[in-house]
Amino acid sequence: MSLLSNTATLLGKELRTEFRSRELLTTTVVFILVVLILFSFAISPTAEESREFGPGLLWLAILFAASLMLQPCFLREQTNDTLSSLRLAVTDPFSIFLAKLIANTLFLLLTEVLMLPLFAVFYNIPILPQLHYLLLVLFLGSLGISIAGTALSAISAQARMRELLLPLLLLPLLTPILVVSATVSVSLLDREPVVLWKGMAFLAIFDLVFLTALWLFGEYLLEE
């Protein structure tokens, strides 16, 4: 029980910190927008090509944005050395990770939901008919990104060159997420949409594997 109540308190703290300034969210939204527009300049797709490549580009933009958005996750605890107080305050250090990764998933999902209409307009892809499935892929994918990303940002925060290091560690690790969520999204947004349940299950397995790993090894990531 203490894990859940600790997590809830910490999640409240994460959300309050972010919504006071909304710095992270605004920057990420603008970043995804810029990347999507640059992609369409780089390949100037036709309507058919949009359907084929658009979702992949969207996921790539999300991945890049996430690797930047996850930076401050542990870094901002360092400024006033709040991490050690956090560790003293909770009974299970896993709740720190849990709160942070839930917050990160929420932030990512929020930016994605804001970006989705713009993506549909810019790339001429009707998203409404399959919206619920699309949201499910976005949720499973973003959860995986946040789990792995939160763990790795705890590592990169303790190293030099951390701004460059996090994308470098995180992006290869997220290859499975990119491959599967892009494929599932492409077949969802096809003229004859298909829901690839096997893909959804794969994303859920990815999330589960890394969540378990984080649960087992998380406390060592925060050692002094």
Binding site: I155, P172, I205, V209, A213, Y220
Partner: protein, 225 residues
């Protein structure tokens, strides 16, 4: 010292014997011809590379559990050797693919996952260079190594199931796959040779890492006085 020389000599002899076997004993493949002979070296290195990464993963787990520097030394040694062998795989692959497939590279499951594996361990070694404190470096890189290794089957599965165009595996593949018995023997022999070489290199690299950390300690003691 004598033991290490014997080990090294055996490793080199085994590799030479494997080269001889793949050039002169294995029969020439019917459609691909001579270029197919690179297969023994290529697959042998791939297996030895995987084994090295497996050793690295086990060393990482042991370090997190036991916190003895020797596991950290073993981790970095096997990661480096694994990386070298995987580089060999990534170089010999295209040399074979170009005359046979007509292309240097294709985004097929095994090629791509080997490449991602290579990238992950490059990141592992890079991470190690960016953390000053010895204990922290050992712990954090071990944890990253564990995450990276867990990712490998997921990368392979994702690409295999959702990116098409993969030639079916020859060993442990489905129906219609298989090797000529002599080819199979030569393949297993070269895999053995490459594994032995990998083991020898890991031992050597481990001794180097151990010496390095001993020098570090001595240096610090000297500075303290």
């Amino acid at each position: 010292m004598a033991k290490r020389i014997v080990l090294g000599a055996v490793a080199i002899l085994l590799v030479i014997a494997a080269a001889y076997a793949s050039f002169y004993i294995a029969p020439t493949e019917r459609t691909m011809g001579l270029i197919q002979r690179i297969f023994y070296f290529h697959v042998g290195s791939a297996w030895a590379g995987m084994d090295a990464f497996l050793v690295c993963f086990i060393a990482n787990l042991l370090y997190v559990w036991r916190r003895q520097p020797k596991y950290d030394w073993l981790g970095v040694s096997s990661a480096e050797v694994g990386l070298v062998l995987t580089t060999v795989v990534l170089i010999t692959g295209p040399i074979w693919a170009h005359p046979v497939w007509g292309i240097w590279w294709t985004w097929d499951a095994r090629l791509t996952s080997t490449f991602v594996l290579w990238l992950l361990y490059v990141s592992y070694l890079l991470l190690r260079t960016l953390i000053e404190d010895q204990d922290r470096r050992a712990l954090l890189s071990s944890l990253f190594g564990i995450f990276a290794f867990l990712d490998v089957p997921l990368v392979f599965g994702a690409i295999r199931w959702w990116r098409t165009q993969h030639p079916s595996p020859v060993i442990m593949g489905g129906q219609g796959s298989g090797l000529d018995p002599t080819m199979r023997k030569v393949l297993f022999f070269s895999a053995l040779a490459m594994n032995f070489l990998a083991a020898f290199l890991i031992v050597e690299r481990y001794i180097l890492e151990k010496t390095k950390s001993e020098v570090d300690i001595l240096q610090r003691e000297a500075e303290a006085q």
